[in-house]
Every structure is written in structure tokens, then in C-alpha cells.
Symmetry: C2
Subunit: 325 residues, 2 copies
Amino acid sequence: MDEFSFIEAIKQPFYRNQQIIRGIGDDAAVFREPYRDVVTAVDTFVEGVHFSRKTMEPFHVGYRILAANLSDMAAMGAEPISYLVAIVVPSSWSDNELKEVYRGLATIAKKYKVDLIGGDTVIGAQFVLTVTINGAVERGKARYRHQMQANDLIFVTGTLGDSAAGLSILLDNKRTNSVETSYLINRHRMPTPRVPFAREMARLRCVALNDISDGISSEANELAQASGLTVYLDENQIPISKALAQFPIGDQQMFKLSGGEDFELLGSIAPSEWDKLKEVAQKSATQLTQIGFVKDESERNGKVFIKSDGDYYRLLEPNGYVHRS
Amino acid sequence: MDEFSFIEAIKQPFYRNQQIIRGIGDDAAVFREPYRDVVTAVDTFVEGVHFSRKTMEPFHVGYRILAANLSDMAAMGAEPISYLVAIVVPSSWSDNELKEVYRGLATIAKKYKVDLIGGDTVIGAQFVLTVTINGAVERGKARYRHQMQANDLIFVTGTLGDSAAGLSILLDNKRTNSVETSYLINRHRMPTPRVPFAREMARLRCVALNDISDGISSEANELAQASGLTVYLDENQIPISKALAQFPIGDQQMFKLSGGEDFELLGSIAPSEWDKLKEVAQKSATQLTQIGFVKDESERNGKVFIKSDGDYYRLLEPNGYVHRS
């Protein structure tokens, strides 16, 4: 299949977003954004580094990278609109496997109503998938890390550690029962970006957000550093799934604190806005849990502390290591 | 150097475009485009496929890919604004070589006033550089291939075949004299995107444009197919540089018709607008040459014919092959 036929094969018959004026088929794509801020991010996924054939089918490779990109949009409070795909394909990959990657991309794209508007397909020695996503948010309503404020509550969506547990099952053949196994594997291969939650959040005022791609330890540190404030977390409040609760306690702790790739949202909000955030969670059918709070304590600012065994310890990124000295 | 230090090292101290609200340092970048159409494109450059260490230094790798992206913006009539860089780096590349790639990117970025607003840096087996560019154009003023009209004049900027000649020098050690050699090598490694020409063109009405990345044969066929019209070219009118004119006539012909990667613009414009286009070329110090015209001839529409040895022959893509039957 030559590149032209391939582009014809993956072209969408129509675009879901009216603002897309021109998609695939010209030197560049065009979309119109009159009253909103455009938001964009790029993610790269390399075979042998970010995934292997043991842990992902080609379908999941496409699905998961776009999930990660959509999660970036959610973390900015932005509505995703469109994406571009640059792909390096080794000759060992068949046309069918390549189509499966695009089927994975198209499946989650349809779910979250985003359009494929451009790309580049080239031959290479190692499979590399790079997705650039574009979205928009009402002017001034993007959610930045530095917007965290003293006395804010810290919250998280969904449950943490599932993706890391799913990966450990795939890599080490760890198993509990079959239902839980497939749940955790799916959470790793086909994570759920919190787009509806971010959309419902539009009416709220100041919210700081991060998506959890690198583990909550790392993400909480980013919030603390960007805002110059101190974050306190309670380890026992960090929500985990029933499936993860079947694992040994040490695994649970490791997966939920440093697993990452759950693509849940970690954020902070003023206590006075908490009830509104609960409504947002309800409307978007999203699990919401308060797991900590924010303080302005000059000597501790920029750092994260976690309550474990009744005391607060410094939580060090990126591995969730608790520093007890 | 870890990723965090690296991002700190490549961060710009300030952004050149006021509409950039947030660049590197959050989950995504944000830019504001109130009254214009946003335009975006992605290009991927793979070591061993698109370049080798024999033909490019790391500096040129960065410079050239962004030149290609800027050329995509020019081909849409758009003003480039910002770019994102996803890079896969093998462990065999040193930190200094990687910095050189970014110095190449930053050098041309400064020249054309575009900002680096995000990216992803990962380790892999093969060097891959993917650049996504964003730009904007006044509403409805993007230049599409299908906008070519019957009786339009066909024009090209600059000279053709230089990049292919430069590459042949690098690969086969072909040489003329040293001044011409370095001119042609530079045209290959550091092509000039026609951004100022595209900018000056904003006041013109309907213009169809393509940038010449794949050779004029292929690009002219794209214009003919997108518009459903017939393109006639005159081989003797296709401008070449003095440096290319030193090559044997067969090489000249091959390089100018099918060489590609000159990143010049090929377009069509109504004869009544020709004088205005000449002013645009003058204001932007760009060489402009009429090389053909457009007809609506039902049986020949979608095809390109070229005058060679006094007669018109069908010009077949992608290799510039002239079909005389």
C-alpha cells in the first residue's frame, strides 16, 4: 500500500467539528477558533520503550496514545478538537497491523468526538507513534499548575494504581481472578481520559489540574513547585479499585503512589467551591475523592508531605519514596 | 542530563508572539487566535531514511525540518506562530549533538519569529525528529490546491533542482567549483521557506499554492488533480541556478523536474492579478517566474503536460518522466 492509498484509507468521511475548514489533503490543516484559547500538546510512543508486543496489541497502541493526549487536554480544562499523527513504521509491521493502530486511534477519537486532520507516515527501523492534539478552552479558563492556592483542597478522580497493576500482570503473569485481571489490563491498555469531567468543570473558577501520567508523587510535586506552596496528602484517602485491593499491601502502595499512566486528574480547588466540584463529578459520572490540602508554609513550600502510619513524611518524586528523616 | 534539566536548557527566555499564553511547562501549550484561521501540520525526519550523518550535521537536521514545516505554512498562505518538537534519541547520540539539533531549530525559529511551545523527548533505537507547526491566516484566506482556476498562470518562486544537486554532491562527491558546491549543499541543508512571500500575498485574491517538497512533477499533478483542471508547463521556463547550470544537461533536467525538497512555492493566479503578484515578489525579495498556464479541457483535466523540444508531452509523477506516446 503506497502512502497515497493509505491516506485515502484512513481519511474520515466527514469531520465532527464545524470549525475544521480543511483536514487531510492539503499542505496543512485549518481550523477556526474565534472566541476560545487554542491548546496543543504532543506525545510520542516508542516500541520497546513505552510498550512491547507482549503488553499491547497494535489496536491498543493507537488507543492509548490518543487517550494520553486527550488526558492532557482534560488537564488543561480544554475541549479536544483534532489531532495529527506522525508514524514511523518498520517493514516488519504489516499493513493490517498498521490499520489496527489507526482503528485504535479512530475508536477513541469517535468516543471523544475528535478529528484526525493531518499526519506523516514514514518507514524506519523502530515503531514510533507521535500524536499532536489541539483543543480549545474559553478565554482565560485554562487550568494551570501554578493556579493552586493556599488552603485549597487536593482531589483526585477515579482510582490510582490500576494501570501499573495491569502492566505488572502482563509482564509477570501475576493474576488474581479473571474478572479483576481483565479490568486491570484494560485500565493499562485503554485508559479513560477525564474529558467529560473537564468539560463540566468549565463553570468553576480557579482550579489547578495535572493529569497523572507519571505517578501521583511526581504530579503532586509539580503542583507544589509550580505554585510555590506545600501539599499534604493522606495515603489512606488515595482511592484504589477493588481489583487493586487484591494485591499484597506493598504492591498496592507502590502502584498507587508511583505507578502512573492512570490518566486520572489531580487538582486543587478552594473549599468554598467543593460542593460545585461534587456536582461536576456527579454530572460527568466521575469518582471524586479529597486526598489532601494545600498550605503556605515558607520552609516547606514546593514540597509534598504524605500522612502514612499517622505521621506526615516528605513524599519524594518520582518513585513515591517516603523520606522519614 | 535528565529530561527536566534538558527542558530547562532548551526553554526560551521569552515568547515572540503575544498570543502565546502558556508554552513549555504545563500539560499543554495555549495560544489565542481571535480573528484568524489556525493552520497546523506535522513532519517527521528519520535518520537513515531522510538524512544520514554523511549529508547532515545535527544542526542541519533541526534547521531543515523546521524549514520544511515553515514551508507548509507558506504554502497555505499562513503566518507561522509556534512549534512542538517530539524527538526520539538513541543512546549513541551525545548531549551535545542533541543540543545542536535544538540550536538548528532555534536558529531558523528566530529568523522566522516562531516559538517553541512544547514537546516530548524519549530514548529509542533510531533518531526520529517530529515537528508540529501552528500558524494562522486571515479568515478564509488560506491557499488551497483546489482553488486553481481555468486560464490561471502557473508560477514558481526561486530556482528548482538545487537541493537535489546539493544532495548528489554530498552523496557522490560530484563537484563543480567550490563556491557553487557550497551554495548547492546549503540549499539542501538549509532551505529557505517562502514565508515573507506568503505574508505579502495576503492582499491578493484567489491563489492556489503548493510547496515543492516532492519535485515539481508531483506537485503540479497534485494541483491538477485537486482542481480537476489541466496544467501546461514549459520546461525551458523552469528557473535553475547558475550553480545547477554547471551540471550535465541530463542531471539538470532530472534535478529540476523531480528533485524536490527545494521548498519553493508552485502556484496559480488569475492573469489579471499577475502584476500584483510581481509586486509581492519584489517586496519580499523573491524570484518569481511564470512557467505555464491552466486550461479546462475535459479529456486532459487532472493531468500535467510539459513542453519539451517544442511539443507538449504528458508529465508523469513522481519522477518527472515524460510520456511521449
